[in-house]
């Protein structure tokens, strides 16, 4: 397999381009995705290749972007809709939650809704409370949606291709602070199945389950802890729905300790769900310490960069949490 070193953002773009070349039913719509190239430049150059018909600029109307994607999907297209910031999912919520997610079930299994709603999430850009949220827990809660949160260029490409080929509405949360991070990505076509967690670092003493940018911070923390003789296993679930419980349970049985790290507010966050899954599993009897959540504070993301940093977990927070339970 030939590998290329590309950024996360390029990996997203390549996935869309390759799928659009492969299947003419796939198209992109969203605010400023055309000539502007998307607010983060993810779709730069795609208009030139695919034309206005398949790289569609939309008005600033998140509700209809998501809803039209659902309508197009249920009638035979495979839309990729971009929501400029994951925060704006609030405006598209009816289309996504009451319509797209429910159609198949409430119509008795007759409908397929193969749509992808891409959106950059997370803090770290100093953009304050309405452009920095991590709202994945809301979406995880809705049956009928699949929720993907890739952390690396390799994962984002393989998972976006799977998302586009999936026959269900997929919420695809891109980690905006790693858009420019490079990683090795195969040049050949590949897909990553949903529901397959990736053990980013094998370890013996404690399991750290992290999502999005927290995967990178946890790996950094693991290296610091390795110098103290603490061997951390870092697991990236990659898809929150479906969730690879098996890999996590196996790991917790091995280490006996679990720390869950996410950027979203701790209260009602995905970490609580993961903790409960583990408590209900056979791993319960192997827990040798209480499960710990290292998560965002229960506050809106503040503007001042120093405050913003303190609002979400940093490497030191993860290191300290591990030290506390090992």
């Amino acid at each position: 397999m030939t590998m290329a070193l590309i950024t996360y953002k390029e990996a997203v773009r390549q996935a869309m381009q390759e799928e659009m070349r492969r299947d003419e039913n796939v198209f992109l719509l969203g605010e400023d995705v055309g000539v502007y190239g998307g607010a983060f430049g993810v779709s730069l150059g795609m208009l030139e290749e695919f034309g206005e018909e398949r790289v569609r600029d939309t008005p600033i109307s998140e509700g209809v972007i998501a809803g039209a994607a659902a309508g197009a999907a249920v009638t035979g297209l495979r839309p990729i809709a971009e929501i400029m910031f994951s925060d704006f999912i609030t405006i598209a919520m009816d289309s996504l939650v009451n319509q797209a997610a429910k159609m198949r079930y409430m119509f008795g299994g007759k409908a397929k809704v193969p749509m992808v709603l891409r959106m950059p999430g997370g803090s770290g850009t100093g953009a304050a409370a309405q452009h920095s949220q991590s709202l994945e827990a809301w979406l995880v809660h809705v049956p009928g949606l699949k929720v993907v949160m890739p952390s690396t260029p390799y994962d984002v490409k393989g998972l976006l291709k799977t998302a586009i080929r999936d026959d269900n509405p997929v919420v695809f949360i891109e980690t905006k602070t790693v858009y420019n991070k490079k990683g090795e990505v195969p040049e050949e076509d590949y897909v990553i199945p949903f529901g397959a967690a990736d053990v980013k670092r094998i370890g013996r003493d404690v399991t750290v389950l992290a999502t999005g940018v927290m995967v990178h911070r946890s790996l950094e923390a693991a290296e610091i802890l390795a110098k103290e003789g603490i061997d951390v296993e870092v697991i990236d679930p990659r898809t929150l729905v479906p969730f690879d419980k098996e890999t996590l349970v196996k790991s917790v049985i091995k280490t006996g300790k679990l720390i869950i790290v996410h950027e979203a507010c701790k209260r009602g966050g995905f970490g609580g769900e993961v903790a409960a899954e583990v408590m209900e599993s056979e791993a319960f009897d192997y827990l040798d310490a209480p499960i710990k959540r290292v998560a965002g504070k229960n506050i809106p993301i503040p503007y001042c960069m120093e405050l913003e940093k303190s609002a979400v977990p940093q490497v030191d927070d993860i290191v300290n949490a591990v030290r506390e339970i090992v």
């Binding site: 006996g256 319960f284 009897d285 192997y286 827990l287 040798d288 310490a289 506390e324 339970i325």
Partner: protein, 428 residues
């Protein structure tokens, strides 16, 4: 009840000790105060006396083992007496304590959890269930007094088995116990070790005590950029001087001055002269120019190297240096050096001449900045005034930390040593 012998804590900072030698074996009888074993901590060897008279019932830490302070290493008692496990004894003590408190004070919360429940992790509870262990009998080591898995696995093994398992890297959870009530005993761990051993080549011995200190120290020292200058010296004068000094000094002190003692004298004088450059110690926050000239002398021991220090060497006569050097060497060989006698050096002399080594590259004894390596003294043919003559000669190797000392400065210092060695009148 058998008396427990614990690894003694011999200093403020001592956390563990290495068993060097057991002078008694299981079954031997001992008198109270009799030397029972020798232990090593950092670089100091200490003899440990029997705390009670009786028979050695059990030795649970073998020679070479590293044991945490205040952990049991042996039991002494009456012939035929049963040795209770450490854990059980601790529990008993706690129970007694609880009983005492209960008797003297209002009802108190037990050390256990609320309502008499045991505070234990799910993993600890599972193991206890599987092994039919009563968690009330297990002492906790987890945060907040929680019994964690390792406490239970340890509980089901005898202290000796725990010890062996820890040293040999055996996971007790994987070992089946054959003792009473499924207790894991020494033999179980040993057979587990044998199984493990068949998979690996050569047993690994943990670096302990002095070896560990040396390993750490060397790793640190190696970080310094080292340069070594070599220079040959005409030792005719020193041979002559030593011959003259021997009778008097031997008569007064019982020992003869060695060439090394003479070299230390020379070095100490040169150090005083070059104090600002060479008699220094390099720390992370800067170079410390030392007032005292304290010369360390490397002494090789079977299991490593120690460097006792001759303090204020520049103020001592050759005779005083000779006497002090011999004392320190003797103490070193017996492992009786005190920490203070091994610290505070500003320069080190290391001599490999007795092994037939001519020149070598000594490693600076950080935080010192220079070390002098001394080679063998031998007669050599040299050209002098156009003629071949035979002369006793010796090589000196001066290694220096190039962060603190420049090449020319080191060369100048070495040349001064050569001058002093070749013209001992300057010592006066």
């Amino acid at each position: 009840m058998a008396t427990e012998l614990l690894m003694p804590k011999l200093g403020m900072t001592m956390e563990e000790g290495t068993i060097v030698t057991w002078f008694k074996k299981v079954g031997d009888s001992v008198a109270e105060g009799e030397i029972l074993l020798e232990i090593l901590t950092d670089k100091v060897n200490m003899e440990v006396e029997a705390p009670a008279a009786g028979q050695v019932l059990a030795i649970i830490a073998a020679e070479g083992d590293i044991v945490e302070v205040n952990k049991p290493i042996a039991y002494i008692g009456q012939p035929g007496e049963k040795v209770e496990s450490h854990a059980a004894q601790i529990l008993k003590t706690e129970e007694q304590h609880t009983a005492q408190v209960a008797a003297t004070a209002a009802p108190v919360q037990s050390a256990e959890g609320i309502g008499g429940k045991v505070k234990a992790s799910p993993a600890a509870k599972r193991i206890a269930r599987e092994e039919e262990i009563d968690l009330h009998a297990v002492s906790p080591s987890g945060p907040g007094g929680r019994i964690i898995a390792v406490d239970v696995t340890n509980y089901k093994a005898s202290p000796l088995a725990q010890k062996i398992a820890q040293d040999k890297g055996v996971d007790l959870a994987e070992v089946a116990g054959t003792g009473i009530g499924g207790k894991i005993v020494k033999a179980d761990v040993e057979s587990a070790v044998a199984k493990l051993g068949s998979k690996t080549k050569g047993a690994r011995k943990p670096l302990a005590g002095m070896r560990k200190v040396i390993a750490d120290h060397m790793a640190d020292a190696w970080a310094a950029p080292h340069v070594t200058h070599n220079m040959e010296v005409d030792m005719s004068g020193m041979v002559e001087l030593r011959k003259k000094l021997i009778p008097g000094i031997e008569k007064r002190t019982g020992v003869k001055p060695s060439y090394n003692d003479l070299i230390i004298k020379v070095v100490a004088k040169a150090l005083r002269e070059y104090q600002q450059v060479i008699n220094a110690r390099l720390h992370s926050d800067g170079l410390e120019i030392c007032d005292e000239v304290n010369v360390g002398m490397a002494v090789a021991l079977p299991n490593g190297l120690v460097v006792p220090v001759i303090k204020n060497a520049d103020t001592l006569s050759i005779e005083e240096i000779t006497k002090r050097a011999k004392e320190l060497a003797m103490q070193a060989k017996e492992g009786k050096l005190l920490p203070d006698e091994m610290s505070g050096g500003t320069f080190t002399v290391t001599n490999l001449g007795m092994y037939g080594i001519d020149t070598f590259t000594p490693i600076v004894n950080a935080p010192e900045v220079c070390i002098l390596g001394v080679g063998q003294l031998q007669d050599k043919v040299v050209a002098k005034d156009g003629e071949m003559i035979i002369q006793p000669r010796m090589s000196l190797s001066l290694s220096f930390d190039h962060r603190a000392v420049d090449g020319a400065q080191a060369a100048e210092f070495l040349r001064r040593i050569k001058e002093l060695l070749e013209d001992y009148l300057q010592l006066i």
